[in-house]
Each structure stands twice: as C-alpha cells, then as structure tokens.
C-alpha cells in the first residue's frame, strides 16, 4: 500500500472525531469542516515526508484549530500561521491534547456531531446526505451519484439541511442520560437508512450505491466503540453485517435480483456472517431485546441455513411475531406472512395479509407476495392480476423485471398444464 492510500485511510477514519472536536471549539459546522479540510491539506504535505504522527486525530484537531483561528486572525490582519516545518512536529502539544481526548468527552462530541446530522427535524433524505457528507466525508459528487440527482441539487440539499440545523440549535452541553439515549436512537435510525439506500440499490446503481452499505457498517462500528454496552447498537451492527454478507449473491450478471431461495450460498461472505453472529450473541446476553436485535436474529437464521429448505421458518415466524409487538407495521406483518406460508401453507398466509390490503394498496411487495401465494394455490387468474398490479408499483426496473419473470413462469406453467389437459382428453 502506498503512503498516500494509507494517509487517505487515516484521514477518513479520523474525520468523525476531528470534525466533532472542531465543532465543539467553533460551534459552527462550516468552520469545523473548513478547518478539517485545511488540516488534511497540511497532512498531505507533511506526512509523506515526516511520517504520520503518532496520533493522527490529535494532530489534525490541533492543526485544524490553529488554522481556523489563524484564518480568523488574518481577517483582522494579525499574526501569520507558523510554517509547515514548525507545526509538523507537535509531539508536546499532541500529548496534552491526547490526554484530553482520552476522557469520555470526545464520545459526546462525536455523538453530538452525528446527532446534528441525523437531527429528527430534518427529512430522511437530508439526514442521509448530511451524515455522508459531514461524518463520512463523501464528496457531494459521490453522494449525488448515489441518489441519482445532479451535483448542484445535492449541494442545495446539504445547504438547506445546514440552515435548518442552525435554526434547531442543538445544545452543546454534555447531554443527560435520557437525551443521550434519544440521540443514540436517532443516529442508529439514520445509519440504518444509509445502509438501506445501499442495500436497495440494483442494476446500474449498484456500483455507486453499494458503498453506502460499507459506510453504514463503519458508522455503526464507530457508534459501538463509543457505546460498547448498547444491545441495540450491537443488534444494528449485526443486522447490517448479516445482510451485507449476501451482497455478492443478490444479483446476477445483468443486475437482476436473485431471490434468497435461488442464491448461491457459497458466495455469502462467511467472515461477515461470523462477525454478525458474534455481535448478536453479545447483544442477546443483555436480555434487552429490540427491533434491530430481532431483525438480526432473523437474518442470522437465514445465514445459518445451509440450504433454503433447511431454513428454520417456524423460528423466523415467531421472531416476526415479536417484531410486530416491538415495531408494529404492515410491512413486518407481510414478512411474517412469508414465513407463515412456509410453515402452514399459502392459504394461512393469504388470510393473514388480506386485512392489510387497504394499508398496503401502494406497496409493491404486497402484490408480489399476494400473486406468489395465489399462484401456489393454483388461482392463476387472480395471481396474474396481483402480479400485474405489482409491476405497476415497482420502484426499479429490477423489481419490475423480477415480477415479469414470475408472470412469464406462471403463464408458461399454466399453458403446459393446459396442453397436458388437452392431450389427456
């Protein structure tokens, strides 16, 4: 690995902590970001020659802070910033700052930064854009590509979010226990949104959006290092690892969706599965179940099944039932119905989803599943109607193509059956 790629990785990983600390000093997100940017430029100049400092984060905070203060001074025409060769040797200053960083203080710094980006007053799209830009350090162009909007539109989205946050005035005091857990929950929610943006990508968007899954996992790890005993953060990390483990098996060469039952399980990432299961183990020990842990447990059962037929559907159905209690939603019920159909057959599942029809009338998966169940029951015409409805609601070409495929199979099977009947007659 070259020096530059190492430095790039070091700067990326230091970013949340450094921007968070600078935000505490300057209490202004733009100033903090600019100061970080300036510190990175200086790091790129001095680190290749002098070697990276022992503690890159402290170095960047110190240099960023100095350069921002200097910029403010320069505006009032005062002292210049010391030359690069002077600031590149910050051992003494580093030591003092490192002591400061070892305290629990930086934990709330980072949580504050995350919370500001994931502020509940922001719409989800702005939360995601802010977290990716400010915390993960993705470029506006990268984020714009992932969301299929122009760079200027994304720039505007971020500017608007910042203006809104400025008005919301997140307090800078150390948060109380309740406040802290509320912030944690909000941040966890955004992290999962980021992950899902990547996870739901398909076809042409995989290359641009797939990276969002990695960012989500990275943010969850960051959060977990700050709050190592939160079972739901463990659950969230486990859930994302277990889902992401299937990435290589989820699409064919053309970017079309491959369903769980048809996936080549040898392509699943065992390393991520093992880490996910280890995290889940840790979480369950706390006996404080929550939505992320339950979903992770479901993903864990899928990961553990050697073949689709060996899936423990009864257990999955029970887990969805408890998820319905913790986080009631028609979509959860829909997933429960899928599991139920494996345990008690398509009719039982159809009975379960019928009452959801009104609430899910615009939901692609509802009609996809309905069609699938009707098909299993041999109700060909009803199945075709449901599949057609699903296609009209598809969010992506891959989704539509998948249902069309089902429909083709349905028609083919049906015409074979018809032919068979005719021949027999």
């Amino acid at each position: 690995m070259t020096d530059l790629t190492w430095i790039h990785a070091a700067l990326t990983s230091a970013r949340p902590q450094v921007v968070a600390a600078l935000l505490r000093y300057f209490r202004n997100l733009d100033t903090a970001e600019e100061a970080f940017q300036e510190a990175c430029l200086r790091a790129l100049k001095t680190w290749p020659a002098n070697g990276p400092p022992r503690d890159p984060s402290s170095w960047l905070i110190m240099v960023g802070r100095n350069s921002a203060i200097d910029a403010a001074r320069r505006q009032s025409k005062q002292q210049p910033l010391p030359a690069d060769d002077l600031i590149s040797n910050l051992d003494d200053a580093e030591a003092a700052l490192a002591d400061q960083l070892d305290g629990a203080g930086y934990r709330d710094d980072i949580l504050r930064l995350l919370f500001i980006c994931c502020h509940p007053e922001l719409p989800a799209t702005q939360q995601i854009a802010m977290a990716l830009r400010v915390v993960c350090g993705l470029s506006v162009a990268q984020i714009a590509r992932a969301f299929l909007v122009s760079e200027s539109a994304m720039e505007q989205r971020i500017t608007r979010a910042k203006a809104r946050i400025g008005k919301a005035e997140v307090p800078f005091e150390v948060p109380g226990a309740v406040e802290r857990s509320e912030r944690l929950a909000a941040v966890a929610g955004t992290i999962y949104l980021i992950f899902n943006e990547g996870y739901s990508a398909s076809g042409d968007t995989i290359s641009d959006r797939g990276a969002l899954c990695d960012e989500g996992i990275r943010l969850a790890r960051l959060l977990l290092r700050l709050f190592p005993s939160e079972p739901e953060i463990m659950g969230l990390t486990a859930l994302m690892l277990l889902q992401h483990a299937r990435a290589a098996a989820r699409f064919d060469g053309e970017g079309a969706i491959i369903l769980l039952e048809d996936q080549d399980r040898s392509l699943w990432n065992r390393r991520q599965i093992h880490e996910g299961l280890a995290m889940l183990d840790k979480a369950i020990r706390h006996r404080r179940p929550g939505a992320y842990q339950i979903q992770a447990a479901i993903a864990g059962l899928h990961a553990n099944a050697k073949t689709f037929d060996q899936t423990d559907w009864a257990q999955i159905e029970a887990l969805y039932a408890s998820l319905e209690v913790v986080q009631p939603s028609p979509v959860v019920s829909l997933n429960r119905a899928v599991a139920l159909s494996k345990v008690r057959g398509p009719q039982a599942a159809l009975d379960m989803i019928e009452p959801l029809a009104a609430r899910l009338s615009g939901y692609f998966y509802f009609f996809g599943l309905k069609g699938h169940l009707l098909k299993q029951l041999g109700r060909v015409d009803d199945a075709r109607e449901a599949f057609n409805h699903a296609i009209s609601l598809a969010n992506s070409t891959a989704e539509a193509a998948h249902i069309r495929n089902q429909l083709d199979r349905l028609m083919k099977d049906n015409s074979l059956a018809e032919n068979h009947k005719i021949k027999k007659n």
Partner: protein
C-alpha cells in the same frame, strides 16, 4: 525459541481500508506466510475480529464481571497474532520485518513464549 508476534494497528484505519486494499494486504501476507512456513518456522496465525466484537471478563472480583468491548482502550488495538519458531530474537525480528513489508503501519510486539500447548480444538 518460540515467539508470539502480536500485531497492533489502529483499528479504525484498518476498517477504513477498502475491500481491494484489504485483499491486497492479505495476498501479500500470504506470500510471506508461505516463505516462513517453508522455513519450518510458522505456527498458528490468527486475525481477530474488530474490538467491537470483543467481550472482557474482569476476574479481579467474585463473581467475575462481564464487560462489553476490549480489555484496554488503546490508540492501536491487538488485531491478530502469530506464533513463530525463531532461532534467536534477531531471527524473530527478521520474520516480523518480513511481515511488515507486506503489512505496513502499526506495530509488532515480539514476545518469547513461556508455555505453549497445541491444544485439542479442531481446526
């Protein structure tokens, strides 16, 4: 003499590696491993999951206390280890230098082993 080579590195940096970077380091390491193995000096090798997967049992009290996370909060974390058979400290250091060419950054701690048992756990 047997030595443990304990591998320390900033975990958040290693986690920020792209899959390509990680794969590149691992494949370079495999070449070095093979070289050490051919010399008959390579014992068990382990790469550890991130410290977020760690659990600590504090046994300075009764009953011992289970804590989430690694034992020590350090700037660089224990991310893996090797057991190698070195003729001398210099030899062990040379093995570590060889490994370092494939995996720069962080530090290797070379510790002579006092007691070693291969154990019975299946691979």
């Amino acid at each position: 003499m047997q030595y443990a080579i304990l591998c320390y590195h900033a975990e958040d940096v290693v986690c920020a590696w792209s899959k390509e970077q990680d794969d590149a380091v691992m494949s370079k390491l495999m070449v070095v491993h093979e070289r050490i193995a051919k010399a008959g000096k390579l014992g068990p090798v382990a790469r550890l999951m991130p410290t977020t997967a760690a659990t600590t049992l504090r046994k300075d009290q009764d009953p011992p206390l289970v804590l989430d996370g690694p034992f020590a909060e350090t700037k660089e974390q224990l991310l893996g280890f090797y057991i190698v058979d070195g003729e001398s400290l210099d030899d062990a250091l040379n093995i570590a230098r060889d490994l370092a060419t494939a995996n720069p950054g962080g530090a290797y701690e070379i510790r002579p082993i006092m007691f070693y048992e291969t154990g019975s756990a299946a691979k």
